[in-house]
């Protein structure tokens, strides 16, 4: 016997959620989540991530629109009737039950007999590396172990969709990395559909098949980590996913899908992304700035910080302040020196002025 996946897609069709009379937490969103994919909801605090997740679970009911899991319309189904499990930020382990009882809890309602329930629960614990901890109470586990119990408890039900609401926010950085890799590995091995809420962009980039960036109750952009990182749709996304330097520029000419831009007299050509001639913005990741290039913008080194694996620089010029990193830690630039800053061949993207 093995824990299998009944992974199913999730689909939001024009879903709106209004709390009380006028708090619009989610505003008319459309979202397709493929079966077997790990999708993160990412965005600043209060943008509606938790609300979206709770609507999938059936803990909140959509005010408008329809929600589908698989090909079933679940819009009106309560949580009990949805084949969805959720791992809570606070874990919500039942304090009066042992670890084993916690993990078996949901199985008891799914029509498994006693011995099968026990086998599955044991297997779930094994899967998260907690074999032999079944007899303990939740209060006798460390934070990371509690978190894994919560995951096991949700996993053993083989849900169509598994939901995580900031599951790692209570863990330390090292454990966070490990647990997130564990979650990703289990998800891929079992082929689960997972919806994952976080506001840590690094976490999102590391684990996701697809990232949904939310802003003000709506969706700002949906795409793979690479799409979002290399081709953010707008300044908000560029800023939110990774760090980006935003440099005002002027598009002087567009030729097919190539544009030529001008920044304080420096000329560069790159994909136009449909933008017309005129004012625009250039988004450049810190790693995509070439320090000491033959061609580029002369800038002054304002600050230089050694962080072990690389150097971090703050550069200034009248038109912008930029943040750059360099792999070259052996011959660092001096503060106050002037350096020519070039743009990498790929990486910098044009955004509409705004």
């Amino acid at each position: 016997m093995k824990i299998n996946s009944k992974a199913a897609p999730v689909s939001f069709r024009n879903v709106t959620k209004v709390y009380g009379k006028d708090v619009v937490a989610v505003d008319d969103i459309n979202l397709e989540i493929e079966a077997g994919k790990l999708v993160t909801l990412l965005g600043p605090s209060g943008c509606g991530k938790t609300t979206t997740l709770r609507m999938i679970a059936g803990l909140e009911m959509a005010t408008k629109g329809a929600i589908f899991i698989g090909d079933r319309d679940v819009t009106l189904l309560p949580a009990t009737d949805r084949d969805v499990s959720m791992v809570f930020q606070s874990y919500a382990l039942f304090p009066h039950m042992s670890v084993m009882e916690n993990v078996s809890y949901g199985l008891g309602f799914s029509g498994f007999d006693k011995s099968e329930t026990r086998d599955r629960a044991r297997q779930g614990l094994e899967l998260v590396g907690l074999k032999g901890y079944g007899g303990r109470l939740p209060s006798e586990l460390s934070g990371g172990q509690q978190q894994r119990v919560a995951v096991a408890r949700a996993l053993v039900l083989e849900p169509q969709v598994l939901l995580f609401d900031e599951p790692l926010s209570n863990l330390d950085a090292k454990l966070r990395r490990q647990v997130r890799e564990d979650i990703r590995e289990i998800q891929q091995n079992l082929g689960l559909t997972v919806v994952y809420v976080t506001h840590d962009q690094e976490e999102a980039l590391a684990v996701s098949d697809e990232i949904v960036v939310m802003r003000n109750a709506g969706i700002a952009q949906i795409g793979s980590p690479r799409d979002l990182y290399d081709a953010p749709a707008d300044r908000f996304v560029a800023d939110f996913i990774g760090e980006a330097n935003i440099i005002p520029c002027e598009i002087t000419s567009v030729d097919g899908d190539k544009a030529t831009i001008d920044i304080a007299g420096f000329h560069h050509s790159l994909p136009a992304r449909g933008l017309p001639v005129g004012a625009a913005q250039l988004a450049v990741r810190p790693t995509r700035l070439v320090l000491g290039a033959t061609e580029g913008l002369p800038m002054e080194v304002k600050k230089a910080t050694y962080v072990g694996s690389r150097m971090e620089y703050t550069l200034t010029a009248p038109f912008a302040t930029l943040f750059a990193v360099s792999e070259d830690v052996d011959t660092p630039l001096d503060v106050g020196a002037t350096v020519t800053v070039g743009l990498a061949r790929i990486g910098p993207v044009l955004l509409a002025a705004g």
């Binding site: 009106l76 309560p78 809570f88 606070s90 304090p95 809890y105 309602f109 209060s139 006798e140 039900l157």
Partner: protein, 737 residues
Amino acid sequence: MRQLTSERTTHPVLIFWIIVGWAGFLLLPWYGIEDFFTFEWLIDGYPFDEDYAPAGFLIAQGEKLWLAPLIIPLVLSLFALGKPKTHPAFSRFLILAGALGFGWLIIQGFAIGIRGFNADWLRALFGDLDDRQFGMGYGALICAASFLFLFTQGIAARGAINGDVFVVSSIGGIVVIVTAFVFFPIAKMLTAAFITEDGGYSAEVFASKFFDDRLWGLGCLSGARCGVAWNSLFLAVLVGLITTVLGLIFALVVTRSGFRHKRALRALTVLPIITPPFVIGLALILLFGLSGSVTVFFADVIGIQPTRWLYGLPGVLIAQTLAFTPIAFLVLIGVVEGVSPSMEEAAQTLRASKWQVFKTISLPLMRPGLANAFLLGFIESMADFGNPLVLGGNFDVLSTEIFFAIVGAQYDQGKAAVLAMVLLCFTLGAFYAQRFWLGKKSYTTVSGKGDSGVHPQMPRALSIPVLALAMLWAVFTMVVYAMIFYGSVVELWGVNNTLTFKHYVTAFSFRIEEAGIRWSGAAWDSFWTTLKIAATAAPLTAIVGLITAYLLTRQTFAGKNAFEFGTMLSFAIPGTVIGVSYILAFNVPPIEITGTGIILVVSFIFRNMPVGVRAGIASMSQLDKSLDESSLTLGANSWQTFRRIILPLLRPAILAALVYSFVRAMTAISAVIFLVSAEYDMATSYIIGRVENNDYGLAIAYSTTLIFVMLAAVGAMQLIVGRTEIGRRMSQSRTNV
């Protein structure tokens, strides 16, 4: 794959209630039989005898034909079978069947009574009815329940509260019983406030009674006497404050001090709860009355002139404080324990000193408990009538005024009703003030994360006065109880102080004969009745109270505020009023239970339910909601969540509700005195009868016995309910009630 309740076509719950409905109609005696718990009817003419026949047999014999329309809804309900919940016909049939059936039951119940039609216009319309009917019995009750729950299942299938059958049915059930046993009798009682002597209605009568100077006079500001309303209010505020402070002190000593004899202290604080109310009053008289031991001692030794200082506000205040502090303690202990140690530990690590932690974290987190404790003390004091009766002297309060308005020579129901309304306004005012004070803050402290840590000890500056006060109070309580016990073993208090057991013998003697044990003592009858009724009422009270608390803290539904108001209302009404209104409302069909044991059980349930509700709310608001939610997403429905997650985590609250309602049922007097009958005499009313005959010895001996019996019962209950292990670390004090 999870089974979807919305698609199943067999619904065990529905089938159950349909069968119940038919059984009530076809199998069980429709009308009430004299004694609810006897089964003589089975061999005495059932099923054809008119008194014992089920409705189906009555109709078949051509009698009580107005019951025949009930067949329609019973048949209608069958059409819902075999359909999925989402099918529109499913909910339509159920709602129709439930509404028709329940509605018709009520209409015919109120229209036709023991003298045929109840109203003149009905008689004019349909002519005289040569038949009559009595109160509802097993059959009628069970049918009514069936119709009600068919209706709620229909509503749930419509999508109300996410289609949650358990929640909708609980709301429906509680609304119906509260309406029937709180609003209906009170409404009947209050209409009495407007009834003139010749039976008409008049607002003038009401006004003249309401603005009476005896009620609102402010004479005490200028040396004369104040109105009873002010007396009651002043007393209740004092009692509420003092009991809350004392309750908090005891809770702190038990949970957060190094004090060794916590268990003893705990037991001691529970003593007054298990004491019939007037007994404390009697003991105070024995101690501090004109010829009381302490008074006499001081008169002899120091030469202080004995005075009647006890009779009036001081005596009542002391007695009520003694009596109600334990209630505050029971409420506060749960809350004080519930404050998550990690919050206190967090504060400590934020450089707060022990005292600052206590002031800024522990105390604010106890706010809901403090507010609840005050409210309970306030209301209890308002409603208490035993102590003011014994110790009040010239200090009249509302509850005694009501009692004399009804029992005394005046027999003025209208006046009693007006006084009751004033009382109600005060208690409801306190209720809203409390909600205002608590505001919307969240006091959740038991989070879903396994919580470890230890409650810090009280700061030293606090612990010394707290311990001292607790000790002082404990000693005082012990003295009072020693007096009670001593009083039960002397010939005649103050006159002949020879020791004797004769009072116990008179009350509780028994002989072992060949035929078995013969209970020859005078008190046995009322004793067994009391035990039986208290044991029936306690679990019912706890169930109703906790379900209500669950609905109030965990569900949102239209009319929730009205719902809360309704469930708390009965607590704000003094027992005397409950007693009288029950007699007025329930000695005629459709609910005809005066003189039975049921009326006692019912009155206890609705008098004591609010305590269960409060205790439940206080503890439930400390359980993180994500626990319920995660249970729901794991496939449990709301009933399973309630049973497997919430109930086990609420054991302290359950225990409090059980103990409290059991004990209150055994010691209550104010409502009981109106509701007892020759057959169902309760211990307290028997004792009051002895007191009236100046048979103090027997009265005190009986009371002492009751105290010991209740002690045993409380201990047993504690063993049964046990303690939920939620794994705080070892040095946490074991704190059982």
